[in-house]
């Protein structure tokens, strides 16, 4: 008998432009310029709103990755992207990622509040610190500052942005003197229907989770196992309580990579085909970047060497997100696969973010199980190819969730903050 958790599941979609797999552009329903086509973006917003989802979400970094085989490298600026979608929609939340390292807090505060205002209180800010050196070089810096410095700056940056948003409501000037910023002035952007944008946080490091507990209203987590997710869920909620906040005030929403089919076999075939259509070296490159180690130098048919495993979870070791590295480490430790086996396994179980390959019914079982187990407040779904994957979510997944009483039948709230709060029992 499942425990009687009350409330509703929160569902967002991480659009990742065309879908999370690099071969997404090869869908016959897309054209070469879909990723920059205003009509494509209207359609995404409209289908997400038909599904009564809580929000659509854009990841971001201010630098171009190689688009030779992957249209998803091309990225419109998220706040501008959502300003366009805001005009075509009425209820869906619009979450934009923006860096605390490569922005001026005044400029970003007015940009985000402007989106929040024109959308009628539907904006969210996903706070990231950016770890990509090529992004730093677009801003006249030789490299990105070290991780600890980035999080110290992020903490002050977020406090200053909140103070500026408050100044927009009160009309009173901010007088800020800090380690990173000095500022005297106020925002003259009108406050939004929800006051100011919802704050989300994506990093999985200790400082990242602490920042989430202190300030964030949502955490876009990376979880591969339910047990790990439960532990991280409790950790962030504890941080919130320690900061004098209600544990309900911060929603935990791990990413979930999706390939769906009408049978499990069909879903696996879709996933396999999409992986085969992508560049051959993609999974090796992805893992190399994520763990900061050139995986092509490993024997693909041997298990991961111990020194490589040790380095994956060493925060001092260069590499990708600590949250991703932890979840990759736990996944490898769980089954001890060869490198080749691991790379293939990640097709179905996810890589960094958790993965799911199966039917809509099985997905709904998975969502319900994790939600009732106290591992999540909802998910940020990441379809393999968005243009049809989102339709399956709207037409099959969401109706099943509704039938089980786990998801809204229609919007009962107007703002993103309202959507999040309505999920609490």
């Amino acid at each position: 008998m499942p425990n009687p958790r009350e409330g509703k599941v929160i569902l967002g979609v991480n659009v990742l432009v065309l879908g999370y797999l690099p071969a997404a552009w090869q869908s016959t329903r897309l054209h070469p310029h879909s990723f920059i086509d205003p009509g494509y973006w209207n359609q995404i917003g409209e289908v997400a709103e038909r599904a009564t989802l809580d929000a659509v979400f854009l990841a971001d970094g201010p630098a171009l990755g190689d688009p030779s085989y992957d249209a998803n490298a091309g990225r419109l600026e998220p706040v501008v992207n959502w300003s366009h979608v805001a005009a075509a929609t009425e209820r869906i939340g619009l979450i934009a990622t923006a860096s605390t390292t490569l922005n001026d807090p005044f400029d970003l505060a007015q940009r985000l509040l402007s989106l929040d205002h024109v959308s009628g209180g539907r904006a969210g800010w996903n706070i990231v610190t950016t770890r990509d050196g090529s992004a730093a070089r677009n801003f006249g810096l030789p490299d990105i500052p070290a991780r600890d410095d980035r999080y110290d700056r992020a903490a002050e940056f977020v406090d200053l942005i909140l103070a500026l948003w408050e100044s927009a409501e009160t009309g009173r000037e901010v007088h800020h003197r800090g380690r990173f910023f000095d500022l005297d002035g106020r925002l003259r952007v009108p406050p939004s229907r929800q006051g100011h944008p919802v704050l989300l946080q994506a990093g999985g490091s200790a400082k990242g989770r602490a920042l989430a507990g202190r300030r964030a209203e949502g955490v876009f987590a990376a979880e591969l196992t339910k047990q790990g997710a439960i532990e991280h869920y409790r950790e962030v909620k504890r941080h919130a309580i320690d900061a004098g906040r209600s544990p309900d005030s911060v929603k935990i929403l791990p990413g979930l990579l999706l390939s769906l089919g009408s049978t499990e076999e069909e879903a696996r075939r879709r996933s396999d085909e999409l992986h085969e259509l992508g560049p051959e070296s993609y999974s090796v490159q992805w893992l190399s970047q994520a763990i900061g180690y050139d995986v092509s130098r490993l024997d693909l048919d041997a298990r991961f060497p111990q020194d490589v495993l040790d380095a994956i979870i060493d925060p001092a070791h260069a590499g990708g997100s600590i949250g991703f590295r932890q979840s990759i480490y736990e996944q490898i430790r769980a089954t001890g696969p060869t490198v080749r086996e691991y790379l293939r396994q990640t097709r179905y179980t996810g890589s960094g973010h958790g993965g799911f390959v199966g039917t809509p019914e099985q997905l709904v079982d998975h969502i319900e199980d994790w939600w009732r187990s106290g591992a999540v407040d909802g998910f940020n779904l990441q379809p393999d190819v968005l243009v049809d994957g989102l339709e399956v979510i709207a037409d099959e997944v969401v109706p099943l969730l509704r039938k089980r009483g786990l998801f809204r039948h229609e919007y009962t709230t107007d703002t993103l903050r309202g959507h999040f709060q309505a999920a609490s029992a």
Binding site: W25, L76, V80, S83, H84, L102, N138, L183, R186, L277
Partner: protein
């Protein structure tokens, strides 16, 4: 008015912060901008045309993108200064706007952002970000930002996108280049989006001083001159003529000259139209920028007066003509920008065709 098509000039409308707030709140009002036939509207002109901020505003790229979706025949220039904003962010947001507005947009720069707060560092260009010491804001920094932004707009050529399902190559990554810009700002590039349907967004400069007009003429497609008499306009036109030979793009063009004419609500439309007609008739003037001041009536009412009375009066007198063309460059008869990045460093290796598939894709 048989010869009005020959003598009439382009029309632009300068929208201040409180206009943006009112238009964003009322999509039907925003849609009425389409009826003006203006070549473009400036989103947030009060950010760059004076020392003091207005009572309320929206960030111009956000406002322009949102309003462009509600006014699908209107082109917008987003007003900005490289002050609290960085050229990479600025280039990226305006290129994104231009994609989403199907080539009906651009950027209008000024040296200072009147909405920027005070504070150590924040008085310097990009100093407020707390990453570098920044540079003095002003003409030099603005000129450098204009150059960096225009290079970024060309760093990913649109025709490098091949989207070939047989070889499974999406783009010729080797045709995408770093801009390696080293000036007031250091910007490596490339931009995260390809060049737009009109080649690049239009780059304009609101030039408050004569010194600025000459500098603006060397880097911008279009220069806006604040309200000026015949002598001031003549000097600006001469400065633009002189700048044509020293343009950084070496395209030899003379930047378009738009003369601002301020309209004070309630002061009589006929008198204003006559004054605007005089300015439009001055030699060297390509367009007039109608800049409604705030009066004592509601913002909505004042926007209505501009759309329903002032613009029709200008059209009726043959002062301005209705813009024609899908993109802003077409409307202004501006060519695609001259190539700025010949011989630049490729950002990525040439893609190799992927091996043939052993299956026929089922989706």
């Amino acid at each position: 008015m048989g010869d009005s098509a020959l003598t009439s000039k382009h029309l632009a409308i300068g929208l201040a912060g409180d206009h943006l707030v009112a238009l964003a709140a009322d999509p039907a009002l925003a849609a009425r901008l389409d009826g003006t036939g203006a070549a473009f509207a400036v989103a947030g002109i009060d950010r760059i045309d004076g020392p003091a901020p207005g009572a309320a505003t929206l960030e111009p790229t956000v406002a322009a993108t949102f309003l462009a979706a509600h006014a699908p025949a209107t082109a917008f220039l987003a007003a900005a200064a490289p002050h609290r904003d960085h050229p990479y962010n600025l280039a990226r947001r305006v290129a994104s706007l231009d994609h989403l507005a199907r080539g009906r947009s651009g950027l209008i720069l000024g040296p200072r952002d009147s909405y920027a707060p005070e504070g150590e560092g924040g008085n310097r260009a990009w100093g407020g970000a707390g990453l570098t010491t920044g540079a003095p804001p002003g003409v030099t920094a603005t000129r450098d930002a204009a150059v960096a932004v225009q290079k970024l707009w060309q760093s990913w050529p649109r025709d490098s996108i091949v989207a070939d399902r047989d070889s499974r190559v999406f783009a010729r990554g080797d045709r995408i280049v770093h801009i390696d810009h080293q000036g007031v700002f250091g910007v490596a590039g490339p931009l995260t989006v390809p060049s737009t349907v009109q080649g690049a967004p239009v780059l304009a400069w609101y030039a408050a001083s004569e010194e600025e007009v000459g500098q603006a003429g060397e880097v911008a497609d279009l220069v806006v001159l604040p309200d000026a008499g015949p002598e001031g306009v003549a000097r600006a036109a001469a400065a633009l003529d002189a700048a044509a030979s020293s343009r950084f793009s070496r395209d030899g063009r003379r930047a378009l000259l738009f003369a601002q004419v301020t309209f004070a609500p309630g002061t009589g439309v006929a008198g204003f139209a006559a004054r605007a007609g005089d300015v439009a008739g001055l030699p060297g003037v390509d367009g007039v920028l109608l800049r409604p001041e705030r009066g004592t009536a509601s913002v909505v009412k004042e926007i209505g007066e501009v759309v329903e009375e002032v613009v029709p009066a200008l059209v009726a007198r043959g002062v301005v003509r209705r813009a024609e063309g899908a993109t802003l460059r077409e409307r202004l008869s501006l060519p695609e920008p001259a190539p700025l990045l010949v011989g630049a460093r490729p950002a990525f290796p040439a893609p190799v065709p992927q091996p043939p598939l052993s299956f026929a894709p089922s989706f």
